[in-house]
Amino acid sequence: MITAVPQTDIPRPSLAPRRLSNYFEEGGRTLASWLLTTDHKRIGLLYLYSIIVYFIIAAFAAALIRIELITPAGDLVTSETYNKLFTIHGTLMVWFFLIPSVPAVLGNFVLPLMLGARDVAFPKLNLLSWYLFNLGGLMALYAVAFGGADTGWTFYTPYSSTYSHSHVVTMAAGVFIAGFGSILTGLNFIITIHKMRAPGLTWFRLPLFVWSLYSTSVILVLATPVLAMTLALMSLERIWGLGVFDPKLGGDPVLFQHLFWFYSHPAVYIMILPGMGVVSELIPCFSRKPIFGYHFIAFSSVAIAVLGFLVWGHHMFVSSESIYAGLVFSLLSYLVAVPSAIKVFNWTMTMYRGRIYLSTPFLYALGFIGLFTIGGLTGLFLAALGVDVHVHGTYFIIAHFHYIMVGGMVTAFMGGLHYWWPKITGRLYPENLGRLAALIMFIGFNLTFFPQFVVGYLGMPRRYHSYAPEFQIYNVLSTAGASILGIGYLLPLIYFIWSLKHGRRAPSNPWKATGLEWQTSSPPPKHNFHETPVVTEEPYQYSPVPEQRLIYG
């Protein structure tokens, strides 16, 4: 894709190692040098450390939920505790893990590198985003530590605004504050993509990951303020009895759902578009083929971002919304499935006549296609009006969105993390363990969530602390799967940490990948490039012939 000018002098500083040429060394190794950094790469890593903490807490809540559900009776924890557990799980996973996962960690790290820029447009704002994010996160953890909230991550009124006896306002305040971090990150990315592209890097030479980050950022900027307002109104009603949502005060509880999903449906795409972007990088690289249908994939991201704003009502088919509104929202939901299908077809077609290396990142990409396809197809069941009346609010929807968010987004995040790990750390992870972990995750995931489709159709409602005995077998399978999935997550955590010290040193471009981020050393110098690269070619100029030696494969 890219050549630097002058062509004979492609900057490869790692070939001539200078001690102070990477972002770990430059600027120092003190705590202050990290906490006050404006380097997008360090901020990306700060996000990584933070989301791992939130992930572990949220995963622990999930583990307790799954153990509780082995038996139909609610016997491990009380109902109050159970309700708080799924609230912790949902709130932390959505706002403090999934939403920042790919954009704020991988996006922060590679976006300026991909653009050939020294940093994002507003480096200080970028650091502020991280502080806001964690201020929100600590607020949420404070709520958890001092008793927790029991509203579910959806905060439906009037339960949240009037009836719940838990730390709803603190929890909502955490989400509210973290939202400003999201807005600023989105803003930063949009401006960076518009203004900081290297010479010659036209819009249609951008890596597809950048297109997906762009679409995501637009959603972050447009949708997050609505969430902030909604949670603020809910909190004001709780504190001062404002009367927006509680019918006893003259409000309308269903209005909350409209406002909430106006943000939260686009947010679902925040939790999948960046993952699609990662996969669009991995597939051509490990198939050694230019991506099939570049423009279609790029514009499908935009189409998803736009249509994603118009389908919120499909969460409310049984909420008492008008049946004609239901008709329109269902139609639009079917339309939004089309661009997703286009992406899947294009990824598959990219492999045709390629040279395929089954390295760990590619295994994750394949896992993504498989799980996302199932997640997307089951979305068609939920968008189907008559069927949704039955499966709404059951484990069917739980399984569906976990296929998208965990099967899709987390799988893509893991794929991206393995792919860029050599660039981020300058070290290689152990490939065989990587492949093993990918396989374990795939098996564990399916065993956890596939049975939930079945038990959902059988009628098991979500958020049930105790349940009817006929649902037990599927819950036991699910819990068994979750324990396998847990091992799948633990393994990379261990070998990634191990690789920091003991991993082989990574060359600049272990995957022989196109893309500007691979043109600089691993890890990159503080300002990314010694010379501003100039782009003269189309993206993804891979060739399947002759056989190339990737670092693994």
Binding site: N83, Y156, V254, M351, I356, T373, I374, L377, G386
Partner: protein, 309 residues
């Protein structure tokens, strides 16, 4: 150990919903085949160590893209229409239904039959008869989910929502609350008991309700003093209520509204909201004075008033 896949089919709606579900399942399998079979074939044939023809081929890219955009689009539209038709079926109660009231409350379902029978977490219905549930909540949002009938409807405080079904077989079926409603959400469960018409009649009589729902409402109408203004000669002029239910009502604003359950409810709780043309608002609110059950009794009474004026 059994692996049930479908809940029992207790109504025709259930049979049709399952049919659409199976249709979608077939579509899903077809899409998976279209995606995964070539994918696995490519993975095998073009794996790095395998010799294969890899010379790049110029494919008619736009034609391919348009094909795999339009085909899913048309197939999706067909499923959309199929499921939308079913939704209309589910959401619009047929006119000749037997009305039963459901009041959701943390954490129980209270049921009122027109004959005056009341029950909690159990809903007795006759087989083969269309039953329409008029539902509301006295606290948070609940959802009345009957998995064997493949129907659910949120039960929302401050409004009346409706749900209908026609049981095809005698039996006992699940009621689940499927909208999270607080601590004992998973205990907000019950049963639909479908009986033969004769058994149902016996059950109604055995319940010895004393007075029908409308009669209870009539008593309330007197006790609350409604009759003082709304019936007979009075110093305060209030609109007569005989036969008002289901009729259009002109308002002072010039609008005309239909006097349905929601209108009657609002007029009792928030009298100033909609004032009947030709009247001034002299009515106090009854918001803190009547419970959701009593409101439904009053509405049953108002419905029972004929057009004898």
């Amino acid at each position: 150990m059994t692996f049930p896949v479908f809940p029992h089919q207790a109504s025709r709606i259930a049979i049709e919903t399952d049919r659409i579900y199976l249709g979608l399942l077939c579509l899903s399998v077809a899409v998976c085949l279209v995606v995964f079979v070539p994918m696995i074939f490519f993975l095998f044939k073009y794996r790095s160590t395998h010799p294969a023809d890899r010379t790049p081929r110029r494919l008619p890219q736009n034609k391919i893209e348009i094909t795999w955009t339009l085909i899913p689009l048309f197939v999706f539209m067909a499923f959309y229409a199929w499921a939308a038709r079913q939704y209309f079926e589910i959401e619009r109660p047929p006119p000749d239904a037997r009305n039963i009231n459901v009041i959701g409350k943390q954490w129980m379902w209270k049921i009122q039959h027109p004959e005056g029978n009341r029950e909690i977490n159990e809903l007795h219905v006759p087989v083969g008869r269309i039953v329409k549930l008029t539902m509301t909540s006295q606290d948070v949002i609940h959802s009345f989910f009957l998995p064997e009938f493949r129907i659910k409807q949120d039960v929302v405080p401050g409004r009346y929502t409706a749900e209908w079904f026609k049981a095809e077989n005698i039996g006992t079926y699940n009621i689940f609350c499927s909208e999270y409603c607080g601590t004992s959400h998973s205990k907000m469960i019950g049963h639909v008991i479908v009986m033969s018409p004769a058994d149902y009649q016996t059950w109604l009589i055995r319940g010895q309700p004393g007075s029908t729902l409308a009669q209870s409402g009539g008593r309330l109408f007197l006790e609350l003093g409604c009759s003082g203004c709304h019936i007979g000669p009075s110093i305060v002029r209030a609109p007569p209520l005989d036969g008002v239910f289901g009729k259009p009502v002109p308002l002072t604003t010039g609008d005309v509204v239909l006097a349905d359950e929601a209108y009657l409810r609002d007029s009792i709780l928030f009298p100033a909201k909609q004032i009947v043309a030709g009247y001034t608002n002299d009515m106090p609110t009854f918001a803190a004075k009547v419970s959701e059950e009593e409101l439904l009794e009053l509405i049953a009474y108002l419905k029972s008033l004929g057009t004898t004026q």
